[in-house]
Homo-oligomer: 342 residues x 4
């Protein structure tokens, strides 16, 4: 079938490539003309405007939008609402807030256009590994676009079959799922990313504990009235090989995972992670997951702590820390210690 | 080579089987005579005492201990210290606290016996998948036992090679690692389990958020002076298929992992998890990891929160909760609401 | 001056009483006729409708609304918008979400009516101790109602002067503050309650640690493969007198606070807190504070953890806990332990 | 009665002064001769060695040790064990780990000397406000030293009586408490400090949320693929006066407390807290409280999070943050953003 793609950044371009590999035709558009040319050179049909993209697609059209969430997506959806015809389908494959999907779907529905929201996981590796796709929207639109989802998904062979499942593999076993009505796709993807934050933080914290496991050999065991001495320095004398440890966890361990695979790869590249300063961005889904937990009244201490750690990595805890130092100065006359004393 | 095994429970028996599959000979002992008979029927040589086990092994002996951590391990190590000869090697493959290894190694060293501490991950699946092995102790003893570790480990083919690694695969790429001196193996395994706690909790919290995603459709949106009303019930109207969602995450997603595989399997068996009451045990390593973080001065909010959630799952937060209710009653005259009102 | 009061529950009635004690006149209305009669008997002028209340007040009127946040407040504001005259002032003294204030202020502004949002802390004790008042809205309306705020506030003598402050005491030193434009009062009150959640939880957790301090004397120190044994039971043999401990913290300690005072009182009434089941409600502000932290990108691990603990106290973590048990069963074959075994 | 004091730092010197104010005699010793001279000038009897201090006290002697916890306390206790006579009493008033008390008490008991462990809260303000004292040890020793505890404690008048208490005020109502056998005093003080960490963090987090409440007015609302845009910038446009807010919370609010009083004082001195860098020390008790919670199996998410925040304030989360950035780079090709972009 034919797919239109708007947004040819890292993710969008690879989606096009994977769709074309499966034999489908793609019409592509981006404000960046070079990005269009590059994909045209690989076999896509380039368009120089949204209108041109529409003209090059046969009705009913399926147009995938892969642009930054928020105001950019808003304006593309708006343009599509004004451009496409009734019966056409827009797929928002970016990291939109699922609440925005509900709004966008209403906008489009007024023109008879369908919206599918599609949470897309897989990152830069998805071109070869395939993407995990979580889709929301109406049944009819989903059925129309399903061949594209099937092309993008990793396929059944990407994992051993789950014990207890039998018969023909379900779409979920191919790696894509129609999760429910509008917003359900991005809702499930949001929670996926919340879990991702927690898993990443668990690994990162564990590595940090290993990284400091030699502190008993290197730090003086004495403290003073304001700094806790080490209780048992003799138990912290391990100079550990983190790249090897991440590697050994890749096979047979309970924590075996793609994130551990990637951690092992990163540690081969940079055993001390010196290439990084430790400022960790957050792109919305972690926040939204934490907010969803609060609004549902569900405890999510791990996901929420992982999110807070990212904020702290960007020094957004600084004023709070100053307040703690100020209180300590007030009640105990404690001065802050110089950085070197830590 | 020959391996002695003491402790033929779920883990110990499977270790023996996997070692025998690789062509090694096993002499096995357990206080439970039936367990010995069962493995003898599978090709092991049964022993009826620790002394008998010693007698049936050629020096230098390698004796793997696979019994519960704590006092049981203590007494087995003590018996081995009194029974084995200088030059023999004891492998503690259980979940011992790495600090106990240091004590045990000293005990054994007085008799010229070596201790290897071996953190063993893989659970009931290890027989077929292989075990991830994290070993501490001296080089000589490690080299002697290495064929056994190689037999137990999953092997290189169990995962794609990490980008950037080349040449002959390292032991870590086979799935076993000599982490450092005595205790290093269980230290690394301890942190592994700490990470496991965090990962498991991340998944569990995410599932709970999905599980409650329909609360806006089912719960009255109104609150009262003591209960928060839902701010946006219209955004919580998703009746989600959790078994399918766990399945779709298995392929291509960033959180793809063995734990997600297992979660998918559990949800096939019991989509509502009704087989469980939700009392989650903890077997020591999570506690020790959290304590190590504190003693090193390293923040580990995710791992620590995961541990605390397990305590709370066993209602160990009850007195604290009563104290909160008591304070609310004092300052606001708030009575607790009946359970049905939640 | 004259004050109208709508909502004569626990809080509203006491506000009226304290205002009257200061020599002001109150016109009171509640759908509950008995509540109106009771206060009329104490000197207030009763009204039998919002219109009647308006009629009994001289313009420009000041009408305090003290009803549950959410839909009840919404409908009262709506009725007031339809009833009052331009130049009148509505004070929302309840626990409204500050975002609702912004909406309500717009509604009222269309009719020329002012809104003041007033966060009111003090609980059932406020009648005698006075209330801490955090007010948002325009300067003119604040200035008009200031005598009422001054009457409700505890007054300068309620605390020793803060070192470094001099000259005439500021309004904040009397116990009320004009925090900023519409919503600022409830925003500050919201954060106040977030802090309250954290403080309460800190006390409650501490009491729980004291409560269990004798576990080494009472619990068997042994564990098994699924339950951590106590590492050092000899260090947990303290049978502590919690009512006395809470009492000793009331004088001279760093944690001296009204919440500790109330805790001490609760423990005198019920040393084991047996009067409570431990289901802790949350009334919105804690949630909103946690959400504000997330939206601002500020780490708030303590406040957020306190909120999560309340959710867990109502067993809203149950599905997550079941998921953990299910995973443990999958990878380790671990069955859940019976409740008695905990 | 007579009291010996070893350690004339900030705390020790003020303890001597308060004891002398109550009419008791003090013999004082410190390695710092000037500190001895200063107190001698205020009426204490100076000693130039531990032996001299002993000689100047009549048996049975009471010697208060007020030196840094850990190795310094260890050596002073050792010297006292070698110097004092059977029947004498040592009071460890510092911040010792309660487990060390158990060891010290055994050391001293061999010589017939008693140990009282005394947790001392009150900081630099204790001279005038009095100290909250939590004491462990045997009844006989406690009874002997009780007049000193009574002199140091704030006294009954320092707080209104707790409702429900009647008859003669208990020692706890004076502000000192015999909590139980050896270690009980420092155990209770340890938990007190754990609560203090939690309370302080709650206040600090709340202030940080207020501090950032204007972010919607100052930051561009747009994000990009790696940074979450603000969802609702229009709700974060409050430029708040933190010194005034801390002040208004001091009277009548639920969070009224000494820590809020001190926060208000700090904000008068430095409204932006510019005097501080935000490196927050921890002096042991917070760590020990968190460890006690873990060993008891009690969830303490708030206290533990507060402790972790202090670690993070000293950048001890840096390696973990680098690991997160490394993972993000691996799966998404995300580069870290420059500091200015935060």
């Amino acid at each position: 079938m034919q797919l239109g793609m708007i947004g040819l950044g890292r993710m969008g371009a690879n989606l096009v490539r994977r769709v074309m590999r499966a034999g489908h035709d793609c019409v592509v558009y981006d404000r960046n003309v070079d990005a269009v040319h590059d994909l045209a050179a690989e076999g896509a049909l380039g368009a120089d405007s949204v209108g041109d993209l529409k003209a090059k697609l046969a009705a009913p059209r399926a147009v995938w939008v892969m642009v930054p969430a928020g105001s950019v997506t808003d304006s593309v959806i708006e343009e599509l609402a004004a451009t496409l015809d009734a019966g056409d389908i827009v797929i928002d494959g970016g990291n939109s807030y699922y609440r925005d999907d509900i709004h966008h779907a209403e906008q489009l529905r007024e023109r008879g256009i369908h919206l599918l929201d599609c949470g897309t996981s897989g990152g830069v590796w998805g071109l070869d590994r395939g993407y995990s796709l979580m889709v929301g929207g109406d049944d009819e639109a989903f059925a129309t676009v399903e061949p594209i989802f099937a092309a993008l998904a990793p396929g059944v062979q990407a994992a051993e079959r789950t014990p207890g499942r039998d018969g023909d593999p379900s779409p979920a076993e191919h790696g894509y799922l129609h999760c429910g009505p509008t917003g359900a796709g991005h809702f499930v993807k949001m929670v996926h990313n919340g879990i991702e934050y927690g898993m990443m933080a668990a690994i990162a914290e564990g590595l940090n504990i290993l990284h400091r496991a030699n502190i008993g050999a290197t730090r003086e065991a004495s403290g003073d009235a304001e700094t806790a001495p080490m209780t048992d320095p003799e138990f912290y004398r391990y100079d550990l090989d983190l790249p090897a440890i991440a590697e050994v966890w890749r096979r047979g361990s309970v924590i075996g995972s793609w994130l551990v695979d990637l951690t092992a790869a990163a540690l081969v590249e940079s055993p001390d992670l010196d290439a990084f300063a430790g400022r960790v961005s957050d792109s919305g889904e972690g926040r939204w997951t934490a907010i969803a937990a609060i609004e549902e009244g569900v405890p999510a201490p791990v996901i929420t702590a992982a999110l807070g750690s990212r904020f702290a990595s960007r020094q957004l805890d600084e004023f709070a820390d100053k307040a703690l130092s100020a209180m300590r100065k007030q009640f105990g006359g404690h001065d802050e210690k110089p950085a070197a004393g830590l």
